[in-house]
Symmetry: C2
């Protein structure tokens, strides 16, 4: 195969499991390059200027299409943006984040109810089901499953990337920039490129597994000791990375404190209505 | 490592790419076990009765936690259901699908705004941002990214699984069964187990890549020639699999024709309101 990108040998399982939770890990019941790739995930926001090898975009989208999709409806699409001026404009719409323009490829993942409506209209059928919140959720989930496959695929090739939730800051302007028809919503963006080795963030620790994993039924009260341990773990991580130290719990609370904390996304429902989603 | 599950050797790249789109594929710019695992995905609905090796659940959840999460809020949880009687009851709530009770493990993936609200309440803070549609979308996307990692991880270990969207048929009853507090929503289920080798479905072809991939801007009119080719491709696939032959376009249109076609999920908005989601 031309331009083959070699896969680095898989790091040690115990090391990767430890870096994700910062507690000694039991030996896993299996290990392979797939698990190593996923466990090694970190968001990359600094890219080398080098372009992607020919065929990379198509390979990532094929991986995305290989994800499950509700009833095989395939209610998603993706716009691949590579033109520098368009990336700059989208960066301005999505929180002024410089890495969006710096990355060689910006993927904008869409919940797409339009395609099916257009196919129905071509057969003289008016569909009503796409007006319901349910099909909006199906489109969002379909887009997310596809996107996650694409990012893991990119990482398996040595590329890096990051989700861009700020693509929801100004949904109507994003729709205009990408010429989206009604009933298509840019759920999030994703910047993809070669990680800049000079700026190499580490694997971010997540909540203790027993905080997110419930057995048989939901335990309503979060374990405050476990949460306290995580606050401490993240402080240590922030020190290691030379980041400003902030308490995870306090940071999360601040992020959802009130409408203003949502940085414009408190008007998402109005924006979706303007884009043609009835959300009945 | 005990109970090591061997990874099968990766099938040929050209073969897997062809089976996904049923057209001759250009050589990809890279290939590895990660791509092979994702490209080989098929939904598995028939399971051997064998249990999963010890530690599998924790490994899948660690893979899930390694996925990106908006602002590290981690607005998701998962309930692992293994008790036979509970699986039977959940199967009854989710479209009477027998494989849900047959699988050794049922994962129910949750958009979870409760945990953060409870942490805030413990600090004497009332948060308002979780009342907005935006944070519902964040929870749904977080749950979907996590779930997709878990399914890919399972497949890398030789396990199989399938998403269960019918977990949204009766959201309030599912919430009662799983003791979900307000502001927690079961987005979908996922049945996981060892695939029954006697019932071995093939890789389902997806839409031609140029139908879902847009370059720089959205092309509003779907290419009817490409869609017609896909209808033909799926007819061929259905014949191969001994399935009833149905036109993909007609099947999709029927699935979203009207409120009745949504099989109860047309009341999702009312159900979410009952579960405490204001969706402002």
């Amino acid at each position: 195969m031309p331009d083959t990108i070699p896969l680095a040998p898989p790091p040690d399982a115990a090391d990767l499991l430890h870096r994700r939770h910062r507690v000694p890990a039991a030996p896993p019941p299996g290990w392979n390059d797939v698990l190593a790739t996923m466990l090694a995930h970190r968001s990359v926001r600094h890219f080398r200027p080098d372009p992607l090898p020919a065929g990379t975009l198509e390979l990532l989208v094929t991986a995305a299409q290989s994800a499950s999709t509700s009833s095989n409806l395939q209610l998603w699409s993706v716009v691949a943006v590579a033109e520098p001026a368009r990336k700059v404009r989208l960066a301005q719409l999505a929180g002024q984040q410089a890495f969006i323009a710096q990355a060689p490829l910006l993927l904008v993942w869409l919940a797409d109810l339009h395609r099916l409506e257009a196919l129905a209209a071509a057969r003289g059928v008016a569909v009503e089901g796409t007006q319901f919140l349910e099909e909006f959720v199906v489109g969002v989930v379909d887009a997310a499953l596809a996107a996650q496959n694409a990012l893991t695929a990119a990482e398996s090739l040595g590329l890096g990337g990051v989700y861009v939730g700020a693509m929801r800051n100004l949904p109507e302007q994003v729709a205009t920039e990408l010429a989206l028809p009604p009933h298509v919503f840019a759920v999030f963006g994703m910047a993809i490129g070669w990680p800049d080795p000079a700026v190499d963030g580490d694997i971010k620790p997540r909540l203790p597994i027993e905080v997110v994993l419930h057995r048989e039924q939901y335990r309503a009260a979060p374990d405050t000791a476990e949460i306290g341990r995580y606050d401490t773990t993240l402080h240590g991580f922030q020190r290691e990375q030379g980041m400003r130290e902030v308490d995870w719990t306090a940071q999360c609370i601040a992020r959802v404190k009130d409408a203003a904390a949502l940085r414009g996304r408190d008007r998402l429902r109005a924006a979706l209505r303007a884009l043609g989603f009835a959300l009945r």
